[in-house]
Symmetry: C2
Subunit: 391 residues, 2 copies
Amino acid sequence: MELNDINPNVLSVKPSSMREFDHEISDDPQIVKLTLGEPNFNVPEHIKQAAMDAIKDNHSHYPYFWGYPELREAAAKYYQDKFGYHYGADQIVVTVGATEGVADVIETLFKPGEAVILPSPAYPLYDASISLHGLEQVRVDTSKTDYILTPEAVQKAIDDNPGLKVRGLILTDPNNPTGVAYTEDQLKALVPVLKENHIWVISDEIYGELTYGQKHYTLSKWLPDQTVIVNGLSKSHAMTGWRLGFVFGPSGFIDEIAKVHQFTVTTPTSIIQYAGIEAMKHGQNDAEPMRQAYEKRRDFVAKEMTEAGFDVVHPGGAFYVFAKIPASLNMDSWTFAKTLAKEYHIGLFAGAAFGDDECIRISYAASDEALTAAMKAIKQMVADKSVVSDK
Amino acid sequence: MELNDINPNVLSVKPSSMREFDHEISDDPQIVKLTLGEPNFNVPEHIKQAAMDAIKDNHSHYPYFWGYPELREAAAKYYQDKFGYHYGADQIVVTVGATEGVADVIETLFKPGEAVILPSPAYPLYDASISLHGLEQVRVDTSKTDYILTPEAVQKAIDDNPGLKVRGLILTDPNNPTGVAYTEDQLKALVPVLKENHIWVISDEIYGELTYGQKHYTLSKWLPDQTVIVNGLSKSHAMTGWRLGFVFGPSGFIDEIAKVHQFTVTTPTSIIQYAGIEAMKHGQNDAEPMRQAYEKRRDFVAKEMTEAGFDVVHPGGAFYVFAKIPASLNMDSWTFAKTLAKEYHIGLFAGAAFGDDECIRISYAASDEALTAAMKAIKQMVADKSVVSDK
């Protein structure tokens, strides 16, 4: 049967160019990958043990669809202690990673045709999820304001689009792909314009435990009734493939998203939820050794990339360096990424995947050896491929 | 912020009355539950071991979003051998249980406003998923045709609704809640009307390995270009809470649903996918001892319920008995279920949850002791509560 009559929102969305590129280059046995946001650490042993115990103890039956009460209680306390979240267990739904959180929040809050502000560059998942749900997006270029969204930019996005009903904003803090982490003042500055315009904020705080020399703040502190937080254990506990996330939000909203969640996945894997209980109760310090290692790698990569001629935004969090390709290379971002992969066996992502074709994104959640090899290769490529300037 | 401006499709959907009722009655320490479709068996040991090995081996990173190639290869072969499925590994997407499969298929195939035929009684997930996606449903009562959907009923559903664009049908075979399993002839009879009217079929075959005295057939054999199969390991390998499912479909369709899947959950849990590889490669006979036990329980429950005065449809598959409440009780189905739970400490589901208020559903995926206690209590309740007939 013809497929041209299926959901046009689905037809219009492209598969993630990032995942496809990552999958493609994985065929190269020599490839060193700095592509996916994939910690090179393993899940902490005590959490692995809890998951194995749950398997042995036959916890294979349906958890209550909101997530085990014990997990939600533990998560409420964990995030209150970490970041000052103010949510009770009944304001939390346990999701299949942060991805399901983002998808469910978008489905719950918005109606087809409404618009969502997306500070750019942005993680491509948001773009796709907005399109899949039949929404419009208003991209706001943050590159001229050090990749920080300003209240003026929010107001301008609304004023410049009088034909659109702008009802949402997706804020990723710490940011993927730029690594920028918002200060307390930068977040507080956004509050009045968001209140005044009744904008729901999806606050993706998945990198909240990975900040360097600065603290993580949550916008929900100043905008509790309009903020929905997406978080999870993928980055803080190196549990990407295990898929465990949380949505935190106002009570009435949580009742609504719980239905979307239930009818989308029923619940995340029971034994991973047991692992999550262990992480929330006894894994408060699990992220710290990783954070320290990431910080060293960040310093190394930022320094090396600057030396190689790239403009690097200061990354205060997450584990990415977002770097502007030297003009001497005269290359767009996919050409850079593909050339580097093909000829130098180093994988990283084109900025175009995030909406900025002048930059590339390096994930430094990789081994020191991989990073050293990558920096050497990138310097070599700059030397090999730079064209002589006419000036 | 007010919630009246959020997605009206979400506001209109009720949380599953089944899950809420099950959760409520779980507070009663004496309760014996025949509610959820939840095997009382444990995950087979060799599969548990594979999951534990995957944890030990640190398989905690992102699987490719379609699912591990090895799992899709193994699933292709497993289901070909079992039921004659004709799908290659590149026509399979691995999902978070059958629930995500159903949600993703509905999102991929249909546009808001289009209509889907739902043979009734039906598992409430479909109803909710149809509403969440802004679709209309055409309920077709199957109670007068032994709970089998006939081609005449499909044609009538289309003819009676000239204002609706009917583009889909959800077929659950073996059926939940009735336990009815379609014969080869009953499925083949549906093919012409579905072809002629270009109806996509979502064929939920999650209970395919649980049939009694008859074989499971798949509609996809005769309608390959219009059928999408949803299946998984929840029932065949007692892995409900582990959440592993599959969608099988025509190639072009699978490319589209893969995007919806990716942007909804990224991928199911990596270690559960490793467990799935073991189940698909070495667990071909895992369901058989369970099936034999279920068959004995089915015989017992059907006999006892008939003796108690209930009309019982012959259940050829799944693990449910759907039984009509004796007229002498003069009770609707929720009154029956709530009275039985409160006064007799036995939990089962009201038929109303499935669209039939004259019946109740018993899950016999429970221990022999639980079933014996339940049958005794139900007989007692009939004796206690029957009203004297006026006749």
